[in-house]
């Protein structure tokens, strides 16, 4: 077995096991005497619960609800704060809110119990859309209005002056829709007891989040609960906080019943009753003077749904990315997280950044067209550089190489020629977009909130990685093993990294925010450096705590300073053709370039780029999730269509080598970055092909007709 170097081509450690069908996902766990659970959920978006009448329960069946929470427990899941209830009690706030859990041996019996339960709800008028929430439809959801959270940030001069001097002012409003994660493995968990401890096998991104979130429900100590991550079949943010919503009720059931209990959502439940990407409404007003953009004012609304969960943080990221990759002299950006009676919105790859990045890209594209310059030239003239001031009055600390990234994809795609030759409305179009993604937690969150730990343990010649970070398909187990093995100069096969168990590993913070490689990877790199020096000492462990790099001032109360430790950067180009009779769109080329510092493993990165871009193109084109009166209308994979192998062509990609000082081997985060921009490139190309301006995504074929009509075509 050979020692490994970081640039070697390796096999993922989990590939054979998964491809052979040997990997164990949550639904693959079985225990003797195991019971099943099924949720009873609210069918109304808002109202008072007047009565819950279950059928007579057969022997061995249970109905668990808020009344089963012990006295020293609290009916709350502690996500970022304690806001989301474990069980609805007294009232319901969205369709799908958990009212109770039926538990028993036969799934068909549970189904019929659920179907035959009568829940009387005195319905109230719900607020569903962002506009409903702005208008406080049905009366305030919160104390006085429907605003969960808000913030603003300001850069440069007084906006009235800037607009006063402008020779052109352009105002536009963009909207983006819900997006469902459709991780191919639905949400699921199994709970059991080992001695006095409650043990959860759960499909999740953040085992420590689950533990903290649910322990309060039964008034247990964190250590009384052991969370073991089961192999996770995709997550994309959908398993960041949402697993708590399964785990909380399961824990109460386990507390009462004491037998192994399994709860697996079927696809319909996962579609209708799980978190989604925040829909948004984004208004920009821009000042142009002498052909230059001098100022942008923005109002950003995100539909948070009925509970806050992670929405404030999502909104912050949305606002901090609201000027894209551009240095605009004066900006004033406000963000509002709106409470509504829809299923709560939560994390989804990009975490608030995709919405504003889409909107600013399209806005600048429209401005460029109206002042008669090529959008790509217009944008290039404003690219952020090292030292540029950000919208939060911080500074870009790294070398930004967007210019050469643009050149790479422009050459590969033959952009300049095509951009000139394909006429506006000709049925053919090519579009380009630029984007970034701030790595890791906002501001000083890594230091102030998370304080990640990571540990390496040496046993003979073998080394075990002990971290709370999870593999969910993104390749982190391989990435981290490669980092450790390369530093230690040992074969990768000698490094183990089992799925985390909260009773064994230290808390490395959530597997989210594109922080794993940059933060946890760096910690493991530091552990390995020390272990290498002490290699001869026999068996021992090295544990490290996160250290914040100097020189990143941040004030979380005013949102001023360096919002992120560094950014990943991206550029994407999409070419397409539209059949003018049917409005069918055929994408014929996809090119991208990304700067992620350094790729720890190029094949893994390649897979992330491909997957992220296709998800983004799905978001822009076909993935339409509507909500009517609080009910999602798409309930299956035939209603909510995600891309198949036939929908998009093979991609061409470029990677910049631009090592980042604080990342392991120079690497930065990238899992979310690759989602952040293909949508805007697609819509840019589509607008050129159709010869119209559009203002919302998704834009499936049936909605293109409407866009054409609005433009009088």
């Amino acid at each position: 077995m050979a020692r490994i170097s970081i640039d070697d081509d390796v096999r993922r450690n989990d590939a054979i096991e998964k491809a052979s069908g040997l990997a164990r996902y949550a639904s693959d766990y079985f225990f003797p005497d195991m019971l099943y659970a099924r949720m009873l959920r609210s069918k109304a978006p808002r109202g008072k619960i007047r009565k819950i009448q279950t059928p007579v329960l057969p022997y061995g069946y249970y109905f668990i609800s808020a009344k089963d929470i012990p006295e020293n427990g609290r009916n709350a899941l502690h996500m970022i704060s304690e806001d989301w209830r474990c069980f609805a009690d007294g009232d319901v706030r969205y369709v799908g809110e958990t009212i109770g859990l039926f538990v028993g041996p036969e799934r068909s019996v549970l189904e019929s119990l659920e179907r035959n339960t009568y829940v009387e709800i005195e319905e109230e008028e719900p607020a569903i859309s962002i506009d409903d929430a702005i208008n406080v439809k049905g009366g305030p959801i919160l104390e006085k209005d429907d605003v969960f959270c808000q913030l603003y940030c300001q850069k440069g001069r007084d906006m009235d002056e800037v607009f006063g001097e402008a020779d052109k002012i352009i105002e536009e409003t963009f909207e983006t829709g819900f997006q469902e994660h459709v991780h191919l493995e639905t949400n699921g968990a199994v709970i059991t007891k080992e001695g006095e401890k409650y043990v959860l096998y759960i499909s999740c991104q953040c085992p420590f989040y689950v533990r903290k979130s649910i322990s309060i429900v039964i008034g247990a100590k964190d250590e009384d609960i052991v969370v073991r991550q089961s192999t996770t079949g995709g997550a994309f943010g959908g398993k960041e906080h949402f697993p708590d919503v399964l785990a909380g009720p399961l824990l109460v059931a386990e507390y009462v019943i004491g037998k192994p209990i399994k709860l697996i959502f079927d696809r319909r439940e996962d579609m209708l009753y799980s978190v989604k990407r925040h829909p948004s409404k984004i208004w920009y007003k821009s000042a142009i003077k002498d052909g230059k953009l001098t100022g942008v004012k923005g109002k950003i609304y995100y539909n948070a749904g009925a509970y806050l969960s992670s929405s404030y943080v999502v909104l912050q990221r949305g606002v901090f990315h609201a000027n894209g990759v551009y240095d605009i002299p004066s900006t004033y950006l406000e963000g509002f997280g709106m409470a509504t009676n829809t299923f709560p919105s939560c994390a989804f790859r990009g975490f608030g950044a995709p919405q504003t990045l889409f909107a600013i890209e399209m806005h600048l594209t429209h401005i460029a067209r109206r002042i008669g310059v090529d959008p790509v030239e217009f944008k290039r003239s404003m690219f952020l550089k090292k030292g540029s001031e950000t919208v939060t009055n911080g500074h870009i600390v790294e070398n930004v190489v967007l210019g050469s990234m643009l050149d790479d994809i422009a050459t590969a795609s033959d952009y300049w020629r095509k951009s000139r030759e394909y006429g506006y409305g000709s049925g053919r179009g090519i579009g380009m977009s630029f984007y970034n993604h701030g790595g890791a937690f906002t501001g000083n969150g890594e230091q102030a909130i998370i304080k990640a730990h990571a540990r390496l343990k040496k046993t003979g010649e073998r080394v075990t990685i002990e971290v709370g970070s999870t593999e969910m398909g993104q390749g982190f187990q391989t990435t981290l093993r490669k980092i450790a093995a390369a530093v230690l100069e040992i074969p990768m096969e000698n490094v183990d990294y089992p799925n985390p168990d909260t009773s064994v590993v230290p808390d490395s913070g959530p597997t989210a925010a594109s922080r794993s490689t940059m933060i946890v990877g760096r910690l493991i790199e530091r552990c390995a450096v020390e272990m290498k020096e002490r290699w001869g000492e026999g068996d021992f462990s090295v544990e490290k705590e996160y250290e914040h790099p100097d020189g990143h001032p941040w004030d979380q109360s005013t949102f001023r300073g360096d919002a992120y430790l560094g950014y990943g950067w991206g550029a994407c180009c999409v070419e397409l053709e539209v059949d003018k009779r049917t409005n069918e769109v055929k994408v014929v080329g996809i090119w991208s370039s990304h700067d992620i510092g350094k790729a720890i493993d190029e094949k893994i990165v390649h897979g992330q780029i491909n997957g992220g871009i296709i998800q983004s193109l799905g978001y822009a084109s076909m993935e339409k999730m509507e909500n009517k009166n609080g009910h999602f209308r798409q309930e299956s994979m035939s209603d909510y269509v995600i891309p198949t192998s036939m929908d998009f062509p093979k991609q061409e990609y470029f990677l910049e080598d631009n090592p980042y000082e604080w990342g392991p081997f120079g690497a930065k985060g990238m899992g979310e970055l690759v989602f952040n921009g293909a949508d805007a490139a697609y819509v840019d190309a589509l607008e050129r092909a159709l010869g119209v301006e559009t203002f919302k995504i998704p834009l499936p074929s049936e909605d293109i007709e409407e866009a054409l009509r609005k433009n009088g075509r």
Binding site: R12, L184, G234, R267, G473, I604, M637, I642, T644, S645
Partner: protein, 160 residues
Amino acid sequence: MDAEIRFTLNGKSVIFIGNPLRRLVDVLREDFGMLGVKEGCGEGECGACSVIKDGKLVTSCIIPVGSVDGSEIMTIEGLREKEEGKCLIDAFADGGAVQCGFCIPGMVLASYVLLRSNPHPTEDEIRLAISGNICRCTGYDLIVESIMLAAKRGEELWTK
């Protein structure tokens, strides 16, 4: 009413006694322990539950066990023991086709059916052959390339 269903599962004769309307996916997973058969949608849309029935790829979530009486069924548990299965699994691993893995057993089975009938497929033919198998992670490119790799490496395996 219970029925007696006899079929071949990965080369062995088996008998199922029970409700013939139970979904094949449940019987395979829960009665025969074939946990490599995954349920992604339960409505024939995603291909995660794919198995091979008498040489054809079928989605086991929408067929009742009663309909496989007398059939030959192969799941990933059977395919992984065959040379062709090993070749495909290795190619998927080397080609970077596997991310979360939930779609992959079904993809491997779909690839097997393709290469058996078409040992030298073009990119378009591969894309068509796996179009009933949804993958949310990979964007498909590396799956397609891995199947190409298996076709190349396996050569005589696929033409024999």
